[in-house]
Amino acid sequence: MNDVRIPDGIDAAIRQASAILPAQVWDLDSVISRATAVNRLRWRRRRAWRRLTGIAAGAVAAIVAGSLGLVLGGSGSGDLPADGPAPSWIFAVDADHLYAVRSGCEGCPEELLGSDDGGVTWTRRTDRTDRSFRLTVGPEGALLVEGIRAVGASPPAQAGEISGTAISADGGRTWTSVVDDPEPWPSLPAGAILSCGSGASCPLGAIDPETGRRSPLPGQPPASQGRRTYPVRATIWVDTQDESAWSTSVSRDGGRTWSTESQPCQPAGCGAGYTLTPGLDDSTVFRVRLNNDAGEVVILRSLDAGRTWQRYAVTGSPAKGPSGGQAAGIVAPDGSLIVAHFPGVGTDLETWILGPGDTAPRAVRPSGLPERLGGTLASALSGNADTGYLLRGSGSTVYRSLDGLTWWPLHVRASA
C-alpha cells in the first residue's frame, strides 16, 4: 500500500513547530531510581518474610466510609472507564499491590479496584454497592469487608454476593465468610488481619484469610478505654493513651505475650497525644507531636520498646489558619524517621529526618510533594517501609513514594 506523501512544506513546518517547543531537561536517573526502588522494595519484602518463619504481622487497617455495601464481583478484569472520580481511599500492600475505592462515575456506587503492577494498571474487584462497609487490608494483601449486603443464604466460595463479613486471600477475587471461634489462636496465623484493633470491649483477635476463622489472640494487651494497634512485620505494637498516662505495648511472638511500658502525662494532662510510629525492629519506636502553634514539633525515640525515650525538638513555621498545624511521622526503609509538619492551608510541608545514628533531626527536602494536602496530614500520609508510602494531595491526586523522600503522582484509572 502506497503511503500518502507529506508535502515538503508541511513536513518542514511541522519540524519548525517542533523546534520551538519549550526545551526540557531530562533526567534518566529519576526514571531508573523509581523503577529500581520498586525492585529494592520487593527484595526487602521477600527477605523480611523469610525471616518471619510463620509469624505474620497482623492487619493494617483502613476503613472505607463508603455509603454503600458491596456486591462482590468476579475475576476483576474487563473494560473499565479510563477516567472517573478520584479514589475515596487507597492503600498499598507492597510495591506492586495496591487497592483503591472509588465511584465508577459521578454519582455511581463505589467499586473496589486493585493493581498488581505498582499502580500502572487497575482492575475492578467488586461491582455495585448499596450500603456502608469497612474495608481492612492485611499484610499480605488479604481483604476484610464488613457490612456487606445480605443476599443469599450460604456464603459463596466464589464471586458473587456475600452476606455479613467476608475475607479474601486473593485480592478480592474470591471471598470467604468470617466465622467466629472463641478458642484463641495458638499464635497469629500467617497473613492474618487483626480484629478489634481499636476496641475497648472486645479482645484483640485475628482473622485467618484462608479459612475465615476469627479468634482472639492467645494473649492480650492491657485493657484500656481505647487503643491503636500497629502490626509491623513480626511485631504488634499497641498504643493506649488514657487520662493520666500513655502506654506502649509490644508483642514479639504473635500475640502470646506482651510487655508494656507506661509514662505519666505532663501535669497539664495528656492532651493531644504523641502519635506512635513503629520502627523496623522490635524495639525501636517513635512518637511525634506538634507541641504548639509556634511550630515546635517534638520527636520521641525509644530503642527499648518504650521504657526510655530520647527527646528531640524541631521548629517549623507557625500554624496558619483556624485548624492549626499538624505533624506526623513515617519510618523510611533504612529505619530513619521522617517527620512532616504542615503549618496550615496555603503552606508547604516541612520535613526533617532522624537517622538511626543521628543525635538530632535535620531538615530534608523531599522531591515531588504536592502543593496542598487532601485532608489532615495524619489521614493523608500513610505507609511504612514494607508497603511504600502514600500521600493524598488536594483534588484527585495521590502521591506515591517508596523511600519517603522521592514522590510522584499515582494515577488511579482502570485499564482496558
Binding site: 507529506i6 513547530a17 517547543l21 519549550p22 526545551a23 526540557q24 520498586v38 479510563a82 477516567d83
Partner: protein, 183 residues
C-alpha cells in the same frame, strides 16, 4: 471510536524474538532514552498541544518502558510504543480533567530569542486540528512511520490513517497558505 489499547497487542509493531538481543540491561535503555526521549516529548507536545502535559506523559511512558524493557526493547520501534503509552496516559488524564491548554512558547525557560514565526504559524495551524488528526500527522512526520505503522500504532485501519492524513494536510495547507505545487 478506536480504543487506545496497548501497543504490544498490535502484531505489526512486534519484532521477532530473534530480531535483536534481549536488552535487559540499563545501558540498553539508557541509550534508547538519551536518543529518543526528546523526540517522543516533541511528538507528544505537538499532538497534545500542551508541552507540560507532554513532559509528564513522556516521563510516565519512559518509566513504563524501563519497567518492561526486556519486552519493549524487542519491539521494532520502542519510541512508537512510548509515544502511544504517553498518548494513552495523557488523553485519559485529559478527559478526566477536561483540560486543554493551547500550546504556548511564552513559558519556555531560558529562551534567548523570539521563536521562529514559521514555527509559531505551524503550531497555530496544528492547533486547529483534532488530537486524532494531529496524532496521524505527528506519527508520519516526527516518528517517521509509514501508513501501516501509524495504523498499528494508533489501532486504526490504514484507510482511516489515510483519510485523517488527507484531511489534516488539507487543513494545514489552508492554514499555512501553501499551494499544491510541492506535492
Amino acid at each position: 471510536m478506536e480504543r487506545w489499547g496497548a501497543l504490544a497487542r498490535v502484531p505489526g509493531m512486534r519484532a521477532t524474538a530473534a530480531a535483536r538481543a534481549a536488552p535487559e540491561d540499563t545501558d540498553s535503555f539508557e541509550s534508547f532514552y538519551r536518543g529518543q526521549v526528546d523526540i517522543v516529548y516533541r511528538a507528544l507536545a505537538l499532538t497534545l498541544t500542551d508541552a507540560w502535559l507532554a513532559r509528564e506523559a513522556t516521563d510516565e511512558a519512559m518509566l513504563r518502558a524501563f519497567a518492561r524493557w526486556s519486552t519493549v526493547g524487542r519491539y521494532d520501534n520502542p519510541s512508537a510504543w512510548v509515544y502511544r503509552v504517553g498518548l494513552n496516559w495523557a488523553t485519559s488524564r485529559w478527559r478526566r480533567t477536561s483540560r486543554e491548554r493551547p500550546l504556548s512558547t511564552e513559558d519556555r525557560p531560558g529562551s534567548a530569542r523570539p521563536p521562529d514565526p514559521a514555527g509559531l504559524a505551524a503550531l497555530a495551524a496544528l492547533g486547529h486540528l483534532t488530537v486524532k488528526h494531529r496524532a496521524v500527522v505527528v506519527a508520519r512526520v516526527l516518528l517517521d512511520l509509514s501508513t501501516a505503522e501509524t495504523a498499528s500504532l494508533l489501532g486504526i485501519p490504514q484507510n482511516t490513517v489515510k483519510s485523517r492524513l488527507a484531511r489534516a494536510l488539507a487543513s494545514l495547507r489552508a492554514e499555512l497558505t501553501m499551494g499544491d505545487d510541492d506535492e
